[in-house]
Symmetry: C2
Subunit: 313 residues, 2 copies
């Protein structure tokens, strides 16, 4: 009998990763995959558990993807803690972790290696192929970060080709990302099942995020206005509420009353994210983003969402 592993195997090259996956397939094993940017919390770990339930072996990847950042964003200071991540993944029953150094083609001497949008090499041999989900990439997060979902779809396509999983698990906290990936997989015929897991929440209802640790004690209490407003909206629509504009206003008012600064409250078709007016006509995504004061300085941007199910007719 093998002793339980005390460290998780770390694969760092595309070739190693693909060879591992193909060896598993030869043994008849199915492969589950959880792509992450690291700095893992319980939300990520719940995705690993979901993958374990659906596949024989599980790969998690940790890769901070430059092409979904732009030059004025926080790529260089994105938090990293690979040691802690590996420990958590081992405990969660993950089989291996894929930690590539760079996944984009680098032209020696002509490239700064970052591939951050606006900072990437202009060399004609540099990476230049991108996948775009042309409509779903536009609203919500795509409005303020037009490069974002191009980078997400492209890195996920690359990871799918390297890991070759049977099933891949995403969190519905990043709801638009999950819709973009699901649509990409349908449209490009990837032979992969996409699973979207519900938002993992703290006992008091706050959506899990590594950012929550940055909230002041007062904010940590006040920001519960977000999950409470979300719950209230679910109940309202369950009771037959139909007016999208009125519901959005009330959700925003409840968060502002608690001291939050609302970034957006949006109501959109749950599948294709086009705007809706009548909440009784289809399942509707309610997506919220709001700032609350941080413990140090500035604010913490929190997001939450739910799918509002209309009352049975």
């Amino acid at each position: 009998m093998e002793a339980p592993a005390t460290t998780i195997p770390v694969l760092t090259s595309k070739e190693e990763m693909r060879a591992w996956s193909r060896a598993q397939k030869k043994k008849g094993k199915t492969i589950g995959f959880v792509p992450t940017m690291g700095y893992l919390h319980e939300g990520h770990i719940s995705l690993v558990s979901a993958a374990r339930e659906r596949a024989d072996v599980v790969v998690a990847s940790i890769y901070v993807n430059p092409t979904q950042f732009s030059a004025n964003e926080d790529f260089d200071v994105y938090p990293r803690d690979p040691e802690a991540d590996r420990r958590k993944l081992l405990e969660a029953g993950c089989s291996v972790v894929f930690e590539p150094e760079s996944l984009y083609h680098i032209v020696e001497g002509a490239d700064d290696g970052s591939n951050v949008v606006g900072r990437e090499s202009g060399h004609p041999d540099a990476h230049e192929t991108f996948v775009q989900v042309e409509k779903l990439q536009l609203p919500l997060c795509g409005g303020s970060r037009p490069h974002f979902f191009r980078g997400v779809a492209t890195i996920v396509a690359k990871l799918f080709h390297i890991v070759e999983p049977d099933v891949a698990v995403f969190g519905r906290k990043d709801y638009q990302q999950w819709r973009v990936i699901t649509r990409m997989v349908r449209d490009l015929d990837f032979p992969i099942e996409i699973v979207g897991m519900p938002i993992a929440r703290e006992a008091d209802g706050l959506a899990m995020s590594s950012r929550n640790a940055r909230l002041s004690a007062e904010s940590r209490a006040a920001c519960l206005a977000i999950p409470r407003a979300v719950k209230w909206a679910e109940a309202e629509v369950g009771r037959g509420a139909g007016d999208a504009g009125a519901l959005a206003s009330e959700v925003a008012a409840r968060i502002e009353a608690a001291g939050g600064k609302v970034d957006y409250v949006e109501l959109r078709h749950a599948e294709h994210l086009q705007p809706v007016t009548d909440l009784r006509a289809q399942p509707t995504l309610l997506a919220v983003a709001a700032h609350f004061p941080a413990r140090d300085r500035g604010t913490v941007r929190l997001i939450d969402n739910t799918v509002l199910q209309p009352a049975a007719a």
Copy 2:
């Protein structure tokens, strides 16, 4: 002993095609793939032969891809002859032919089913994911047909996900297409080897094309000016010629002197297709397109190309 098949197996759904490929892989067979739009000539058949040399079994696909046509192009009248194509593929030793009816997601009642650019459905559930090779798609054929390589890269990505080949064979007659696919495969980490085969030529040097049959008797002789000018350019550069502008002018003059109407004569870096000025600095693509009178009415557009190798220093 099995009798030789008298008809080639025809697969028409994605599911059938993928199941066939996976069954071959289970038997340990490698898969070669030749994607085509049908109406096959000897040039295509040479690609099937090349695939047979590199893989245990060979899939050819016949699919006229709407997304690489625009509304004012000839999608609806693109020539089709599936019976003849199947016979030729069987003779060439192809294992199966994939002839899907449609490969794009159709929204019932909201879609005309064509997905031709400018005529596609605006429905938010319609196909919307595209692969773009953002620099290589721009010059040459991409200048006059800006939608073209977006459609090509997208359909090839879809076919790769359905057929799951180990090696795929393309003709270098469509040189830019071969470069676009090669770059896409590198950038998106497809686990597929791409082979580009030299142009298949008639005994007298004319590049094979189903369009050649449309030339008048006089044009059929006169258009040999194209392959002759290409050969002349190869020899010139082999002798040390370096001035790209002068070489292009002379190639154009030789074709015009024979009665052709030149569409373009271009000299570009053989890998990334950026313009070049000094032919001694790198291998250079010479790409030619010219019209000659047709036997019926109008003209026939002929293309040819070669990679000019500078003289050894």
